[in-house]
Subunit: 313 residues, 2 copies
């Protein structure tokens, strides 16, 4: 039976399991974060699409749903990043996962507030910079991950051991992890824990549209598009065809960004427009074939982990 | 301590460890295959660059170096594939790993000769076709693998569990595996064993040029190029810059193939021309920092595996 009493990530976060529910635009609101926290994981509210006042409401709603600590994920390129960070601190949040930007930009205020500060990286070199900047842990996200992604194209299998070798702070594996067997694999690679996105996006408590969840259940084919400009992994649909064609025709970063916009992600994942919306999901979509509760997902992760390590004896 | 007495792959291949040394153009001749066999793995002679008479000599040389069974890897698109297969059978080889082509094309003669027959795949759909064609096992090779690669871009972390779910024959994980921790991760994912290329290419016994081995030791940056046409993962060098530029300028498959040619692989990996040659290697190049013997590599894999599973208790 899995016992993580002495796991470094569990001790850092105060969780039962070494599992972080990833912040995901339009999918990870108060309900998902609170359900993940209640199930023994770190739940994150994804602020990537939120204004500070909206985020503040989400934090309060999560607080009403659970007494356990929840965190906030802030992509640092988000135009409301600083305002979201300040609102979160004011609301009492003390665990932050930042991504898409330099951790140095926010290390000062976060450390001053006594907050835990974790940054998402796609290379060992950036993991080292995070440690130097004062991060308490790093999330190492491989090429197979959904949504926005590094340019390095390093996979979880290869990235995690490199980061483990490069830093002494806890390393959290992300990308391609949806099952207990994959959780066991990540820990065997030397990770202290995992961050899971796609699997938690397709749960009852995720704020994504039911049609989006169903599309992931039925779909298998994802592709990392716009590799030269704004790499993002998307489920196959008409919009992805359009953007791939535009890219192949030599569109500039600005033209691609204009077509993408924030509106497309909302349209696809929150409003359920499966044809014209942007459907961000990881390669593990192929292994996702139902829409369970968060509690059920966590139960499966733990029993699958035990089965995974059973194969190694 | 690792004990694979009841491992399905070990029982199928008659090996001590569930490890296949991959067939690799210009790297895996008689010395490498024999050393891998002596170290308790399945050693493969890579026929991808060989004429049938040359392969015949390599098989005989390997036989003189070890009494243990060795196998032959034959890429089925190789123009001498059928002749190599027949020469191998005549020389008494009864273990084949085929790749890059349809397993149906060779299932007849291999099964008739009573040979073990394993095919390399990059998707669960092809794994199912292999099982239907009578394969005894499949090698599932992820996006992070070196050299020629599937178009699917599925990583080892995601591909292996899909294949394990899809077929009942043994599944061998490949791509991104060079350490005992990665071996443990692959088995946790449900694989019965692993196929290891890059790590065995950079050993004393590999037939690759010393300068190529040293370039891998020093290098970290690989890239999958020619994704639309002939996907191949290469170490960073001038030749890769040239072919990437040609590809970006819209070169046809024929133009790229002409620039690549067979001569470039020989020039880079066998003759040691680091600037103008093709240097095929996997993402795990970043984790390779010396040129040990095969025996030392296998010892490290086993001790690293034990350490990897120790982390999971």
């Amino acid at each position: 039976m899995a016992d993580w009493t002495n796991n470094r990530l569990c001790r850092l976060l105060g969780t039962e399991h070494p599992i972080i529910q990833a912040g995901m635009i339009y999918n990870s609101g108060a309900e998902l974060a609170a359900a993940a926290a209640e199930a023994g994981c770190l739940g994150l509210i994804g602020a990537g699409s939120m204004r500070a006042d909206f985020l503040r409401e989400e934090i309060r709603r999560a607080r009403a749903l659970t007494d356990k600590p929840i965190g906030v994920n802030i992509p640092l390129i988000h135009k409301h990043a600083r305002a979201c960070l300040e609102a979160s601190l004011e609301e009492g949040v003390r665990i932050f996962v930042t991504s898409a930007g330099s951790p140095r930009k926010v290390a000062g205020p976060l450390k001053k507030a006594g907050a835990l500060f974790i940054h998402v990286v796609a290379s060992a070199a950036l993991a080292v910079k995070c440690e130097e900047a004062g991060c308490d842990a790093v999330v190492c996200e491989g090429f197979e991950a959904g949504g926005h992604n590094g340019r390095e194209e390093l996979t979880t299998m290869v990235l995690v051991p490199q980061c483990v070798e490069a830093v002494s702070i806890p390393v959290v594996a992300a990308g391609g992890i949806a099952t207990g067997a994959q959780l066991a694999a990540a820990l065997a690679l030397g990770a202290d824990g995992v961050q899971i996105g796609s699997r938690f996006a397709v749960t009852v408590e995720s704020s994504g549209h039911a049609a989006f969840k169903q599309a992931v259940v039925e779909g298998v084919d994802t592709l990392l598009v716009m590799k030269k400009h704004i790499p993002v992994r998307l489920l196959s649909n008409e919009f992805r065809e359009q953007i791939t064609a535009l890219e192949a025709a030599g569109a500039t970063r600005e033209e691609l960004a204009a077509m993408l916009g924030e509106g497309r992600a909302r349209r696809g994942m929150f409003e359920g427009d499966l044809a014209e919306g942007e459907l961000e999901i990881g390669q593990v979509a192929a292994l996702i074939d139902d829409v369970p509760t968060v509690r059920e997902v966590v139960d499966r992760l733990i029993s699958g982990y035990d089965a995974g390590i059973g194969r190694l004896m």
